[in-house]
């Protein structure tokens, strides 16, 4: 009967309209704030209070979703199914995104607070003119450990120590965990050959039975005492240190990894101006301090540093001593074949 067909067509039409309608809901021109801002950031990296006070002050609702690796963020972005206004890639990923023409050029007139960023963090080689990116927080990947369970200062090699079996965690990400193994083996983490990766995979396979879990946010396990020694981000260690005084953080003698996460605006964003206002807001000293108070990563914002106590400025996780930093390495981007090989080898470790 025709009724049903008509009804059906009507429903489909309504749905299509609804789908299209959500597309152009938030478009804003220069100088006019949008209603909503879509932020895609790492998990455990953005305190809700900051978003709430931004909404209160500017009347813009920040829709916040999280990811747990650069790969995951890029995949979402490339799938063509989301329009984020701000994402927070790591330095070497910013470079790739610039090369792939994924980013909008920032209008620095809208971000005067950029001058609060320490000058060492201006014009880094991944974005030589700071045309596309503004530093968010930086930090390192090293070892968080429980001083009541671990004797002495551990290095990466101690992750393999059988005395700690069932209490070890490593980052749940092919690039991060394999880079750690490469460093432990003394192999180049930014230019590994096929054989290097194969060796790293075999070592990781030996580590596997020792592990409690692959976990990129092990702070809860560190706090509860279930994890004794974790290959993790400095800030995750910092979160655990706030709750459990037995936890401390060290960059291992093998090196450890350094990185800096940056605020960028993807090309698909329709709210560039609002995004820039938000970025500028995050660079306010008080706001920036709130970020690193909640998640104790290293803050590149001089204004925020000036507000910190001596104790906060010498926190072992956020600001490791100079001598530990000497060995640490920055991540560099790898060719796609190497990344795919790493993904595959990493899965093989878990399957076998």
């Amino acid at each position: 009967m025709k009724h049903f067909v008509k009804l059906f067509l009507a429903i489909v039409l309504v749905l299509l309209l609804a789908a299209c309608g959500s597309d152009d809901a938030g478009g804003s021109s220069d100088g006019e704030l949008a209603d909503k801002l879509y932020l895609f950031n790492w998990g455990e990296y953005m305190p809700q209070e900051v978003l709430d006070s931004f909404e209160e002050e500017f009347g813009v609702e920040v829709v916040y979703s999280t990811y747990s690796s650069n790969q995951e963020m890029l995949t979402k972005l490339n799938s063509g199914t989301v329009n984020y206004d701000i994402v927070v890639p790591t330095d070497y990923i910013v470079k790739r995104m610039i090369n792939d023409d994924l980013l909008l050029e920032l209008n620095m007139d809208n971000i005067p607070n950029f001058e609060n960023i320490q000058s060492v963090f201006h014009e880094r080689d991944f974005d030589p003119d700071n045309k596309f990116s503004v530093p968010y927080l930086y930090g390192s990947t090293g070892i968080a450990y429980n001083t009541t369970k671990i004797e002495g200062t551990p290095s990466y090699a101690d992750l393999w120590n059988e005395a700690y079996a069932g209490h070890v965690t490593v980052q749940d990400d092919p690039r991060e965990s394999l880079s750690m193994v490469l460093q432990t083996l003394g192999l180049p983490m930014n230019d590994p050959s096929e054989e290097d990766l194969q060796k790293a995979k075999e070592e990781l396979a030996k580590l596997h039975p020792n592990l409690l879990a692959y976990d990129s946010s092990p702070s809860a396990q560190l706090i509860s005492g279930e994890a004794w020694i974790s290959h993790t981000y400095s800030g995750e260690a910092g979160i655990a240190m706030l709750e459990n005084p037995d936890i401390t953080y060290v960059l291992p003698e093998e090196g450890g990894e350094l990185w800096m996460d940056n605020l960028v605006i993807p090309k698909t964003s329709e709210n560039q101006y609002t995004a820039e206002v938000f970025i500028n807001y995050l660079l306010e000293p008080e706001v920036s301090k709130q970020l690193s108070d909640a998640f104790p990563y290293s803050n590149p914002n001089q204004g925020a540093l000036d507000l910190m106590s001596e104790e906060e400025r010498t926190n072992a996780a956020s600001y490791p001593p100079e001598d530990q930093l000497a060995n640490a390495q920055w991540f560099e981007d790898l060719p796609p074949e190497t990344i795919q090989t790493m993904n595959r080898l990493y899965k093989e470790v878990k399957v076998e």
Partner: protein, 258 residues
């Protein structure tokens, strides 16, 4: 059954019920635990419930879940009931093939439906959000509604409809005055089933939801991945209690209608 067999089976059944319920009860108990970490009892508190109700993310996830479940139920119930009537009443070429089509959502793993929808949306450049979640939910629930309504139709006395026609009612009148009231309990049961499946559904939502439109199960998943926290216990407790209420109400309804 022999008394001895009965005794053994009774013991066995009790054990299975304990297996079902002990973990859930412990989970609920620890939602009132004062300690933020670990599973050692340190004292009674309602704090986790308080912080739950002031958590915007949870409130918006509940809203999203309800919106999606309501839309899904409306569409799936209407479409599924129509399909059930067609399949029950008429013989037409290709009926077997259609029947088979309706079984596909039941026998295909949900992750495949989920990635397939994501691929479709990616290819069409459709922005993910609430409006991309419910099409998948409808696709998997239509079949269940249809099966429930067909079951009801099968138990229907066809002579009632014939009597209505003999008394001069046309097809449209017969449907609304006779058939529909008779199958209504089945339609309602199908709707309830669709609503519950949609509320509970995780995999398809996880793949097809967009920023700001997480459903409750998707939010629970991302919370659980961060580790044990009494807030999740509190949220879980509320979810379990809602299910208990719903099951008890439908149980009562069913007994009354019998």
């Amino acid at each position: 059954m022999r008394p001895k067999t009965k005794k053994i089976l009774f013991l066995f059944t009790t054990l299975i019920f304990m297996f079902f319920y002990i973990p859930i009860i412990i989970l609920m108990a620890f939602s009132f635990n004062d300690s933020k970490v670990g599973t050692v009892w340190t004292g009674f508190t309602f704090d986790w419930y308080k912080s739950l109700f002031s958590n915007d993310q949870i409130i918006s996830a509940v809203t999203n879940s309800l919106i999606i479940a309501v839309i899904t139920t409306l569409i799936a119930t209407v479409f599924g009931t129509l399909a059930a009537l067609a399949i029950h009443r008429y013989n037409f070429p290709g009926k077997k093939a259609f029947n088979f089509l309706f079984y596909i959502p039941v026998v295909i793993p949900d992750i495949i439906v989920a990635v397939a929808l994501l691929a479709l949306y990616g290819w069409l450049d459709i922005t993910l959000g609430i409006s991309t979640v419910f099409p998948g939910h409808v696709a998997i629930t239509i079949s269940y509604v249809m099966l429930v309504v067909i079951a009801r139709l099968a138990g229907l006395d066809a002579s009632l409809e014939e009597a209505a026609k003999d008394l001069g009612a046309n097809e449209w009148q017969t449907f609304w005055k006779v058939t529909f009231p008779l199958i209504f309990p089945g339609v309602l049961a199908g709707a309830l089933l669709a609503f519950t499946i949609s509320l509970d559904e995780f995999v398809i939502s996880y793949f097809t939801t967009g920023p700001g439109s997480d459903t409750l199960p998707v939010l629970v998943y991302s919370m659980v991945r961060l580790g044990v926290s009494p807030e999740i216990n509190a949220l879980s407790t509320i979810m379990v209690l809602l299910i208990v209420i719903m099951v008890v109400i439908t149980g009562r309804k069913m007994r009354v209608s019998k």
